[in-house]
């Protein structure tokens, strides 16, 4: 089992979610995060004092799938998240040791 972490631009979330549901993904978790990479922040002003906003709002999507589905999920996300702008995002794949469904106690792929 693998966890796919995708950092995406927030306005792309609905499109990506629809794409993932279409390919059969039945659950995911999102968090509102801030980050930066090569996309720089910008300067703001408040009551006469300037400051840098380096961290840009992003959405992080966490999805846990069987190893056999990883490539398809990545392709789906890339297809829907991509624009030509800097800051479109990144995808990370991590191994998952255990998955447990709390209500029933199922483990492993049945719990995904």
């Amino acid at each position: 089992m693998k966890k796919i972490e995708a950092i995406i631009k927030p306005f792309k979330l609905d499109e990506i979610k629809a794409g993932l549901e279409q390919m059969g993904i039945t659950g995911m978790t999102i968090s509102e995060v801030r980050g930066f990479g090569r996309q720089k922040g910008h300067r703001e002003i408040y009551r006469g004092a300037e400051y840098n906003v380096d961290f840009v709002p992003k959405i992080k999507i966490d999805i846990v799938v069987g190893a056999d589905q990883v490539d398809q999920v990545i392709q789906t996300i890339v297809d829907h998240a991509n624009t030509s702008q800097i800051g479109v995002g990144k995808i990370f794949v991590l191994p998952v040791e255990k998955v447990i469904r709390i209500r029933t106690g199922e483990t492993g792929k049945d719990a995904i």
Partner: protein
């Protein structure tokens, strides 16, 4: 049948005539009746205006809340709630007497404490007048809350609230306005013009705010070691803007209400008030646009209030065109002043010192400069004298008071408490339990 109805009608008309009063109206009883209607109108207007000025407390609370961080919201609300509540009692007990009691010396009143002028069968005007005056005292008191926000110990602020409402505000007030009731002040006897209180209320609050901000020191993280300003963002610009709108509305009670008379003179005051506010907003917006490249909302909001403070002294004796000029200058001045205080590392989270202290002084001077009856060196001189007298009374007194509070019990919270947030440390609560109130933005 006809006779029956005729009889009934005659009986009813005669009986009605018996109840109508036996005397015919005279010129004198007519005049008395008319005067009574005017008196009733005066009461109505004064007390409605008092409601509008009271509602400025909500305006101040929202402006301060909007310009400060979410972790201190409860503290802001408590300070605003209590400076009015404790101030009301202090002004009832002591302040009103000092301000409007009989004043042999012309420096402070000595009668009327605990509202002793009121007797159940006496003239209730003292009650209406007190009600109007107490909301003015509360306005002066609450100005300071913004400049001292986010780092002041609550108990210290409570003590300050009593002191300003009982002593600091009323004593200067007696010099300028005592004659409006039983007193008489040396300053008003020289012809000092401050119709609704650019100096009496706003500069008094502004200089006390300056004293508090100096004794406290700046918030953690506000000024970097190299002297640059690291802005501490307000958590809700919507609150701040709503607060300014409420203050603008309240000012329609503050300025015109100061006639305490329901007559045609209030119309000019309404117009002047509105024009000055609008001009202040425009000037601040334009100045901030040029200086920073974009029209900035914080400065524009401050500019609106600056215009209102600026017209407060001369609202009854300047022409509408002058009101615009006064507002424009105030709006530009406040932007310069806010940045100057930041350069001097005087941390004022809402700009209270600049809006109320500096622009209150400008407004008082302007009332002399733009006087519709013409201006003279003497008029200008008396205005400057009043401005100076207010500063020399309020600032040292407030500074010493804050220093005393600081030495005895501590005026400022500890750095750890300041970082945690006063809602938790001073009041044991959270204003927004459903939200995370710290952000990656905060440097403290």
């Amino acid at each position: 049948m006809k006779i029956f109805y005729l009889t009934i009608t005659t009986i009813l008309m005669t009986a009605a005539g018996a109840w109508a009063g036996d005397e015919a109206p005279t010129v004198f009883s007519n005049k008395e009746a008319i005067d009574l209607v005017q008196t009733h109108a005066n009461y109505m207007w004064t007390l409605v205006a008092a409601c509008l000025v009271f509602f400025m407390q909500a305006g101040f609370a929202l402006v301060e809340a909007g310009f400060t961080r979410a972790k201190n919201l409860i503290n802001i609300m408590m300070k605003n709630l209590m400076d009015f509540s404790m101030g009301s009692i202090a002004y009832w007990a002591i302040g009103f007497g000092l301000m409007f009691g009989a004043s042999a010396s012309g420096w402070f009143g000595t009668t009327g404490f605990f509202l002793s002028d009121f007797t159940p069968d006496g003239d209730p005007w003292v009650l209406a007048f007190w009600m109007f005056q107490v909301v003015f005292a509360a306005t002066a008191a609450t100005i300071v809350s913004g400049a001292m926000a986010e780092r002041t110990r609550f108990v210290g602020y409570l003590i300050y609230s009593v002191m300003i409402s009982a002593f600091i505000y009323p004593i200067f007030g007696s010099w300028a306005w005592g004659g409006l009731f039983n007193g008489g002040g040396w300053l008003e006897n020289l012809g000092f013009i401050d119709f609704a209180g650019s100096t009496v209320v706003h500069s008094t609050g502004g200089w006390a705010a300056l004293a508090g901000a100096l004794v406290l020191g700046p918030r953690l993280g506000k000024y970097a070691k190299d002297g640059s300003v690291r802005p501490i963002l307000g958590h809700n610009i919507g609150f701040a803007a709503l607060g300014v709108f409420i203050l603008w509305l309240g000012w329609f009670g503050f300025n015109p209400g100061s006639t305490t008379t329901a007559d045609k003179s209030i119309a000019l005051i309404f117009v002047n008030t509105n024009l000055a506010a609008a001009a202040g907003a425009i000037a601040a917006m334009v100045v901030s646009w040029f200086k920073f490249g974009k029209p900035e909302v914080g400065m524009t909001l401050n500019g609106t209030l600056a215009g209102l403070v600026g017209i407060t002294a001369g609202c009854a004796n300047v022409a509408p065109g002058s009101a615009i000029v006064i507002g424009l200058v105030a709006g530009a001045l406040v932007v310069v002043s806010v940045m100057a205080f930041d350069k001097m590392k005087v941390d004022d989270p809402v700009g209270a010192i600049s809006v109320h202290g500096v622009c209150g002084a400008w407004g008082t001077l302007a009332a002399g400069m733009f006087n519709m009856g013409g201006t003279t060196a003497k008029i200008i001189g008396v205005q400057l004298l009043g401005i100076g007298a207010d500063f020399l009374w309020v600032f040292p007194t407030a500074f010493i008071m804050f220093k005393l509070i600081d030495k005895t019990m501590g005026l400022r919270v500890s750095p750890e408490d300041e970082i945690t947030g006063l809602d938790i440390t001073e009041h044991g609560g959270t204003a927004y339990p459903d939200f995370e109130v710290s952000s990656a933005y905060s440097q403290s």
